[in-house]
């Protein structure tokens, strides 16, 4: 069993295809709740969340003594991660199947990325 990150992005702090009216929002929530229930039923859902915008972000960089703190996002980019799911899937085809369902539910583009390693590093050490 592998784990995959399904993430979506904001472009210049707007999410393309986001619900525009209360009615649309309600419909959006209904679809997402149904999808997450389906993920739960098949033991697919590991974790998920929606992030605040980059104006709530702080970056810490290593320096001598205390790390240096800077207001703002990590990368000077137009695109920033807006929300994600972490799912269990046997292989990429299964992960892509779930990603297609997420796209249908949230109407945003989704990037699928496999985890190279998950969990606590200590647990992955030989004999750990």
């Amino acid at each position: 069993m592998s784990q995959y990150l399904l993430s979506t992005f904001t472009v210049e702090d707007g999410v393309p295809g986001a619900p525009a009216s209360p009615a649309e929002m309600q419909e959006f929530m209904r679809r997402v709740i149904a999808l997450e229930a389906e993920m739960d039923a098949s033991d697919t859902f590991v974790f998920g969340g929606a992030l605040h915008g980059t104006d709530a972000a702080t970056v810490l960089r290593p320096s001598d003594g205390e790390p240096m703190m800077v207001d703002g996002p990590f990368a000077e980019s137009k695109e920033h991660i807006a929300g994600f799911y972490i799912i269990n899937a046997d292989d990429l085809d299964e992960a892509l199947g779930w990603a297609a369902k997420v796209v249908a539910a949230v109407n945003h583009p989704i990037e699928v990325r496999p985890f190279r390693a998950t969990g606590r590093v200590a647990d992955q050490m030989p004999g750990g």
């Binding site: 592998s2 990429l92 085809d93 699928v112 496999p114």
Partner: protein, 415 residues
């Protein structure tokens, strides 16, 4: 070990037989080892053994089975050395006796698995093509690199990246679920057709066309009930039949002017037989319709005999399925032949803006305007086509049209 045929294995013949068996052998080794690189090394090792043995003792009747057995033994030896211990080796031994009895031939499903892995839609097109030629076609790295006009180092990097993604992203080694087959098969067919067309762009790359046809035949054998695979095979065969008549030296020859005596009748008959096979399946698709169109062209002994009504109707069908500007262009050409150049021009003007940067659209407009006697406008259209054309043969063809128009325009003025 398989029986040995009496044939003497000359070096070239050994190479040829090996290459034919490569995809099937590799596919089974990938399933067995779960790792493409390990499988490639083992099959490569088996080739070294084979080229020596086969030349001395002749080529076995089941070369793929021979390579699989030899490569598999190499892998087991490697595991045994790596593990030194015995439990795993014994486990492997049990596994083997269940899965791969001595002398087992290639497993058809393995090759399908490998086809779907190499052509997975999550891989970029150039990676799919490289994997397909290298792993399924058994072409050497150098051959694949030469076919796509990149350096060996660049192609090696491309293959490493593609194989890395298969492993890291977890692209599965299995035949897709029935529900996914139509989409996934389209991805496979697109790869094969791209390989064919790359070979068609340059006469020096015949081997790509041959390889594309060979792999499509394999796919048809493996999935005989998929009409789109049959459609693609027929399309390639019918195009291939007319390939040599398409050019005269370095110059393009239009369908209208081709010497139909030079068409390969044997390939045409085979292509038409395949068309007759998929039509009753009643599941039309883009490749089948394109093949049917080419079959109608091949039916006509002269350009004038072409059944344009049928061709226009097929383009309507194709456009309903894949409404691309290029299909629209071909539809407009067929319309010109059915209803006259005025209707053709109206159809062309409707798609003109979508295809403004496509040289063939302007060349077609030029031809249509010329037929209407609107020579100065025709010349402008051809000049625009000349500015946009990239391939040398296209440029020369268009330049010749402009030259001819110039003569006619002068006659006009003087007359």
């Amino acid at each position: 070990m398989s029986g040995v045929s009496g044939t003497d294995g000359g070096a070239a013949q050994v190479e040829q037989v090996f290459r034919e068996a490569y995809g099937a052998a590799l596919a089974t080794l990938v399933r067995f080892t779960g790792d493409i690189d390990v499988a490639e090394d083992a099959v490569q090792d088996a080739f070294v053994v084979a080229s020596d043995k086969w030349r001395k003792h002749g080529i076995p009747t089941n070369p793929a089975g021979w390579i699989i057995t030899t490569a598999r033994n190499r892998v087991i030896d490697g595991w045994r050395r790596a593990r030194r211990g015995s439990e795993l080796y014994q486990e492997v031994g049990v596994l083997l006796s269940n899965e791969l009895p001595e002398d087992e031939g290639p497993v058809m499903d393995d090759r399908l698995r490998l086809i779907f892995t190499c052509c997975h839609p999550s891989l970029r097109m150039e990676h799919r093509v490289a994997l397909t030629l290298r792993l399924l076609g058994g072409l050497s790295l150098e051959e694949v690199a030469r076919s796509f006009l990149v350096t060996d180092a660049a192609m090696a990097k491309r293959l490493v990246r593609a194989k890395f993604k298969i492993k890291a992203a977890g692209i599965p080694y299995r035949i897709p679920k029935d529900a996914d087959i139509p989409d996934r098969l389209l991805s496979v067919l697109a790869v094969l057709y791209l390989i064919y067309n790359t070979g068609a762009d340059s006469s020096g790359r015949v081997s790509l066309r041959r390889e594309a046809i060979r792999l499509t035949r394999v796919l048809v054998d493996l999935m005989p009930d998929e009409p789109e695979s049959l459609g693609l095979l027929a399309l390639m065969l019918l195009n291939e039949a007319r390939m040599s008549a398409r050019t005269s030296g370095p110059d393009l020859v239009l369908l209208r002017d081709q010497d139909r005596e030079r068409w390969d009748r044997r390939l045409i008959v085979e292509g038409q037989d395949i068309v007759r096979r998929f039509v009753p399946m009643g599941r039309p698709g883009q490749y089948q319709i394109q093949a049917a169109i080419q079959a109608v062209h091949c039916e006509a002994l002269t350009f004038e005999e072409t059944d344009w009504n049928q061709i226009a109707a097929l383009y309507d069908q194709l456009y309903a399925l894949t409404p691309t500007p290029v299909v629209a262009l071909n539809r407009a050409i067929a319309m010109s032949e059915v209803a006259g150049p005025e209707s053709g021009l109206i159809a062309l003007d409707a798609i003109g803006s979508a295809l403004d940067s496509y040289h063939l659209m302007h060349a077609t407009r030029g031809t249509t305007l010329r037929r209407l006697g609107r020579l100065p406008e025709a010349r402008l259209a051809f000049q625009r086509a000349a500015d946009l054309a990239v391939a040398e043969s296209d440029k020369r063809f268009i330049a010749r049209q402009i030259e001819k128009l110039g003569e006619r325009l002068n006659d006009h003025v003087e007359g």
